[in-house]
Symmetry: C2
DNA sequence: GTGAAAGCGCTAACAG
DNA sequence: CTGTTAGCGCTTTCAC
């Protein structure tokens, strides 16, 4: 009944383009199936044939086409990594660790930088979906619920790393606890007029969590909260003027807790540019624990995140979700932050 | 003559998995081809059908499978980015710009970090090849000629960014000129005992080029070259001891030019830790121009690379090579470095 | 153990 | 303008 088509004719031009599994099959006198079995070393192939096939692979310089595999399996062995700001070492470091982990587990990493724009986030994720990624790690998530729903609809595993979201799997530091640590530290030093500073590249969720940690701690001590919005370059160029006011006069703040280290470092530069000394006039606490904060010239007191561990656990969780889908329940890991006391904090001016 | 196969039966289970182009075709009563033509808006489709198809796409929530497209076109619309050290802001920034440019041109970026290991470089590139990337941008290239040959053999466009290699398309800063700028600057300040410092994460080619720029300039002034090998964390923790010797005693160096800013910053910390002051006792010149060097506390004199421009030109060149292959001749762009004078350099101790 | 056949979802000639 | 027919290179039942 089955009519033979025109003979397959293994390799038409031979010598053109990359060798395919068909070419290997032809050269080693076996079927595609067997070659396939050999290269994936899946099961029953006699040692003799295996060797023959392997030889053919070698002499042909055959490299299996991931593209074809992907089509069959209906997803690529890649994971998408969505990051808001790769310029921030903290995230670059996270990406580095994630890439390493993913690679070890057999996945390639597609990185997308959103510059903090939600539209870009949506667009990039759309691209990732078309590319058939098997999962997505979001560092810095805008918090767009619709996005989460869409991803859930296509059953694509997502894990949010370094940023908390109640609706998704995530592994992040305890922002609230971290901020409380920061405020406690300052309070113990004698500070009472403590402000919180955030900036443009801080996602809403993170800002909210950190600010609330700050507020809770402040309220606990009966202190008044103050918010500084600072759009700063790491060298502190922008936003110096509004800051100057905050740290001057009767009611001047004596300490500032910041949403991240990069901002803190920028803040130090901005403050010093405007004549205030750190920590003599004003103390600064960062958040993240980037390695530059340890530099003797910067010496930034900060709330350190266990970033390597976070990233590592993030990929592992993601890959687990990919390989065994359907396991119910949100997986949410909250890691402990740690206060690192360095030279950017000291007792307030009055106290000395 | 043509026997009809068993009827295609557009959507078997319907409701299972993602809709395919076939589903859209069925719903809008046209052929796959027409749907294909609509979604790629390739040419002749009547407005009426187009609308009908688009509606179907909409109601089905159809998203074309990049995987299938890739298989047909035999390459993914992705470019690989191979980077040695994503922890170094300079490279992270480069990756950011490349990703942006690639994305604008329709490519997704696969990032691979090699930690400076040539074996990892080879392995990652192998993966990229299997994934069918359309091109590769190498930031920090080990200089492995065999690798280049292999890539040439499969006709895969490669451009080396921020690192010079005579055998490949590349866009990089003029390392030699940069180092000469650095030495000239120090010489004008009165320094004569100037050392060159490099470290583990600096690729051979770059080290060679920068060192030779340094040497040429030194020789030009009849000065003796000195090499310091410093494996430093950004906070200057490691390698402090060997350094201490170099800057002490009769023949102590009064200035050090470094292979990159991160090392320079680490060097400053290490030196200060060992009791030497920068720039009073020893001047430091960096290379790269990372934004943190502008921080008032660091104030690093450095040779800045036009990194954004470099990255941008890099992707553009790469994409040009991808879209119009076969254009002969190496494309090599050499950009001018720029000396940025800041506070880490001053006249040598004796001269004051 | 090995092979034949049937697709994965799409694009690409050609016909009409 | 639209449809038909072949694949892209691999994995996968299911026979042998």
């Amino acid at each position: 009944v089955t009519r033979r088509r025109s003979p397959p004719e293994p390799s038409p031009g031979w010598a053109s383009s990359r060798p395919t599994i068909q070419d290997v099959a032809a050269l080693s006198n076996v079927s595609k199936t067997t070659v396939s079995n050999v290269i994936r070393d899946s099961g029953r192939v006699s040692d003799a044939t295996r060797r023959r096939v392997l030889d053919a692979v070698e002499t042909l310089g055959f490299r299996p086409s991931g593209l074809a595999r992907n089509l069959v399996s209906r997803h690529a062995t890649t994971i998408g990594v969505v990051v808001g700001d790769l310029s921030n070492t903290f995230y670059a470091e996270l990406v580095r660790v994630i890439e390493r982990g993913a690679s070890r587990l057999g996945y390639t990493t597609m990185v997308c930088n959103t510059d903090g724009h939600p539209e870009l986030e949506t667009a990039r994720i759309e691209t990732l979906l078309e590319q058939g990624v098997s999962g997505i790690a979001m560092l810095q998530f805008s918090g767009d619920g619709a996005l989460l729903d869409e991803l859930a609809a296509v059953r694509l595993p997502v894990v949010v790393v370094s940023c908390w979201d109640d609706r998704a799997d995530c592994v992040a530091v305890d922002d609230v606890a971290g901020m409380q640590l920061a405020v406690e530290h300052l309070f113990e030093l004698g500070h009472e007029r403590i402000a919180y500073a955030t900036g443009p590249l801080v996602e809403d969720a993170t800002h909210a969590a950190r600010f609330s940690g700050y507020r809770e701690a402040m309220v606990l001590h009966g202190l008044q909260t103050r918010l500084v919005d600072a759009a700063l370059a790491p060298d502190g160029v922008a936003g110096a003027a509004p800051l100057a006011d905050a740290v001057r006069g009767e009611d001047a703040v004596t300490a500032i807790v910041t949403a991240n280290d990069l901002m803190a470092i920028g803040l130090i530069a901005a403050l010093e540019r405007s004549g205030a000394r750190v920590p003599d006039d004003v103390s600064i606490v960062g958040f993240d624990g980037i390695s530059l904060g340890a530099h003797s010239r910067i010496s930034l007191t900060t709330i350190a995140q266990p970033s390597a561990r976070m990233a590592q656990q993030g990929v592992e969780l993601l890959v687990r979700r990919i390989t065994s889908p359907g396991e119910p329940g949100l997986q949410q890991v909250r890691l402990d932050p740690e206060l690192i006391r360095r030279g950017s904090t000291a007792p307030p001016p009055g106290a000395r």
